[in-house]
């Protein structure tokens, strides 16, 4: 796997001048993804921020083939493209190796696109699905999704006089994909670029379906200064809110075990969307979030131990 320095010397396949916000980590994730995947890659993207900021006609930021179809079907669309490739390759009409990557935000993946994703993974297409998880429907104005964490203030779960943000924990999507028994599932974040690009390369090298859930902080929706995006991403990892791990043919590997596991409040306090949780009345919510982080982290380490044995 190439070092970050080597990756930086590769051709940048995402043109500058697109319309993303300053500090947008979904777009950082896309650049890193393309550096790892290379020119011979077809990218399909669900409706959402990434699609909107990169493809305003007559411009495109994509220097690889790219397709946007609709909100809920990026997995199905890319599975069709991959089937076409398989057919044309069998007929001798194409001979080079092409990577197929479907992309969706958390809304397009956890919620409206979950069925298409599940179907594509079950069918065993040779494709990688990357979810850029910024934990709400950011493109439509920061509404809660199945991927939004408990306690988050969003446009549809605002912190009010009697409610304190989203009341449910996020859907465990990465676990759901592990349960699909596909060859490769991972969690990553562009805050740790080499970890992410290594995972993209590994996923593309594997024959069969792969899934990577990438935590991508959103300066507008998470309410922190744009220059802090990378720190916020890393803090999610070092509080164990978003562990970096991979599951290869059922074997768990935790890629980063923080020397000092910070309390989750250290991550929460950086973000305006959790500000209300620091009122005395809401302290119990932070305790609940911490307990859930601890439970999941322990269970992750346990599974690594069980499956590595």
């Amino acid at each position: 796997m190439p070092a970050t320095k080597q990756l930086a010397q590769r051709k940048d396949l995402m043109a500058g001048g697109h319309r993303a916000c300053a500090g947008c980590l979904p777009m950082t994730a896309m650049r890193q993804m393309l550096l790892a995947a290379g020119q011979d890659t077809v990218v399909g993207c669900a409706t959402g921020c990434v699609e909107v900021v990169t493809t305003i006609y007559p411009y495109t930021a994509w220097k690889t083939p790219f397709i946007h179809n609709a909100f809920e079907n990026s997995a199905a669309t890319i599975s069709g493209a991959e089937a076409a490739y398989t057919s044309l390759r069998k007929q001798g009409k194409i001979d080079k190796k092409i990577n197929f990557i479907a992309v969706g935000g958390d809304g397009g993946t956890y919620d409206i696109g979950l069925q298409a994703l599940s179907g594509a993974m079950e069918r065993g297409h040779n494709m990688l699905y990357i979810c850029y998880d910024n934990e709400a429907y950011m493109n439509t104005g920061i509404q809660r999704s199945g991927g939004t964490p408990k306690g988050t203030a969003t446009s549809t779960t605002p912190a009010g006089k009697v409610r304190s943000g989203k009341t449910q924990f996020a859907k465990p999507l990465t676990e759901i994909m592990v349960a699909h028994d596909i060859p490769y599932v991972a969690q990553a974040t562009p805050g740790y670029p080499k970890d992410f690009t290594d995972k993209v390369e590994k996923a593309l090298a594997i024959d069969g379906p792969a899934f990577i859930n990438v935590l991508t902080p959103c300066t507008r929706g998470w309410r922190y200064p744009p220059e802090q995006s990378m720190e916020v991403a890393r803090l999610a990892v070092n509080t164990c809110f978003w562990p970096l791990f991979e599951v290869e043919y059922g074997v768990f590997k935790v890629n980063r075990k923080p020397k000092e596991k910070f309390p989750v409040s250290k991550w929460l306090e950086e973000q305006g969307r959790f500000r209300h949780l620091f009122k005395e009345a809401n302290k119990g919510i932070i305790d609940e979030i911490q307990a859930e982080v601890d439970r999941k982290w322990a269970w992750l380490l346990k599974r690594e131990e069980l499956t590595q044995a």
């Binding site: 699609e51 083939p65 669309t77 599975s79 493209a81 076409a84 179907g119 069918r123």
Partner: protein, 393 residues
């Protein structure tokens, strides 16, 4: 050299698909389309076709995967009916807007609710404005012939639009008929190789498909799509003529059956046209000047052909097998009135609603319609007057 076969409509569609041998076929089961896909799956299982069959988890994904495959330069087919078509509706629009020449047999079935698996045209009439070309079939022979022609129509560079080939659920899909098929070589030469102008597979000169298209370009792109649909009319006709030279069966936008001197004409689509032809034949032996106007291409709508065919009739019955709730008459009726508007015609036009949810239409029903036409000739019929065939109460 024709091969005489005895097939159901579904098997006739599968036979056409076997001979076309698309690169990719996507599919999700729904009655009464299932046997079409069973048959095609057998061809795949026996290695008789090269197609990659993508057995998706919903019709929405069937059309989504078809869009992905067609954008990757593949010749693509899928098939559906009723609620399946309704579920894929969003992507049906996108397939046409992205100018992807997908061919899709649709086995006409009533839309829920209440749930019903039998024939009416509510499914395909409901998506008449999606930008797909729509060819309606009278019998298994036409199902087969229309699918083979649809490939050339869709892929014509002046058209580049997807085509629905519709046929009536159970009435055509599940009944066995004698029909003629082309030899395999004739069929494969007819459809030829598909070369997409743009493809996702071209990584050296990459293209972005499906971009965000706002106030400054969307309208122009829609105009291009309108032009493509307008161009389709001439292409449907020329492909129908060329197919006639190959098979002996020539097709046009409409079929005017004994309309030249007819005083009374029934307008219909699909299998009902076969029933109506029998009635026309019977009544002609009785000296009645009756005829049938069959609309084969509902999109694009054959205005000029219809004006010519109906010009000298005293009274016309337009048979609709779907409802346009709250509108004056069914969708076919409205289109006919619009076509004749401004032509100075004096024909009395009556709208009949029939056959919803698979309600049978018999020879006697159609004879009664012709007899009613004799009584309305010369009268002005209100545009919102709808008569019902075979309805109790």
């Amino acid at each position: 050299m024709a091969r005489r076969l005895t097939l159901t409509g579904n098997d006739a569609a599968a036979e056409a698909m076997r001979q076309i041998d698309p690169d990719v076929v996507t599919c999700f089961p729904i009655t009464p389309q299932t046997e079409l896909m069973h048959k095609f799956a057998e061809f795949v299982a026996d290695g008789e076709v090269k197609a990659e069959m993508v057995l998706v988890e919903s019709e929405h994904s069937a059309m989504s995967a078809a869009v992905g495959a067609a954008s990757a330069g593949a010749r693509v087919m899928t098939a559906t009916a009723a609620n399946g078509l309704a579920l894929m509706w969003e992507i049906v629009y996108i397939a046409a807007s992205n100018r992807l020449p997908i061919v899709m047999p649709v086995v006409n079935r009533a839309l829920s609710g209440p749930i019903n698996i039998h024939c009416d045209h509510s499914d395909t009439m409901g998506c008449r404005d999606t930008g797909w070309i729509q060819l309606y079939s009278e019998n298994a022979q036409e199902v087969y012939d229309n699918i083979l022609q649809a490939v050339l129509i869709a892929e014509n560079p002046h058209v580049l639009l997807p085509v629905m080939v519709t046929f009536d659920g159970f009435i055509i899909s599940h009944t066995v008929e004698v029909m003629d098929a082309l030899e395999d070589k004739e069929a494969s030469d007819w459809v030829g190789e598909y070369e997409a102008k743009y493809s996702l597979m071209n990584t050296e000169d990459p293209v972005t498909f499906g971009p965000l298209d706002l106030q400054d370009y969307y309208f122009e792109h829609k105009r291009q799509q309108i032009d493509g649909m307008d161009n389709a009319a001439a292409v449907i006709t020329s492909v129908g003529e060329a197919y006639g030279k190959l098979s002996g069966r020539t097709y046009g936008m409409i079929e005017a059956y004994m309309t030249d001197d007819a005083d009374y004409i029934v307008v219909a689509l699909g299998s009902t046209c076969g029933t109506a032809k029998v009635v026309v034949d019977e009544m002609r032996t009785e000296g009645k000047r009756v005829g049938l106007l069959k609309i084969r291409s509902f999109r694009p709508f054959p205005h000029a052909e219809i004006i010519a065919a109906l010009a000298s009739a005293k009274a016309v019955a337009v048979l609709d097998r779907s409802v346009s709730f709250g509108a004056p008459g069914g969708p076919v009726h409205k289109e006919i009135l619009a076509a004749l508007s401004g032509t100075g015609h004096t024909t009395s036009i009556v709208n009949y609603l029939y056959g919803l949810g698979g309600r049978d239409i018999s020879l006697n029903h159609i004879r009664s319609v012709f007899e009613e036409l004799e009584t309305v000739a010369g009268k002005t019929i209100p545009a919102d007057e709808v008569r019902f065939i075979g309805l109790r109460g």
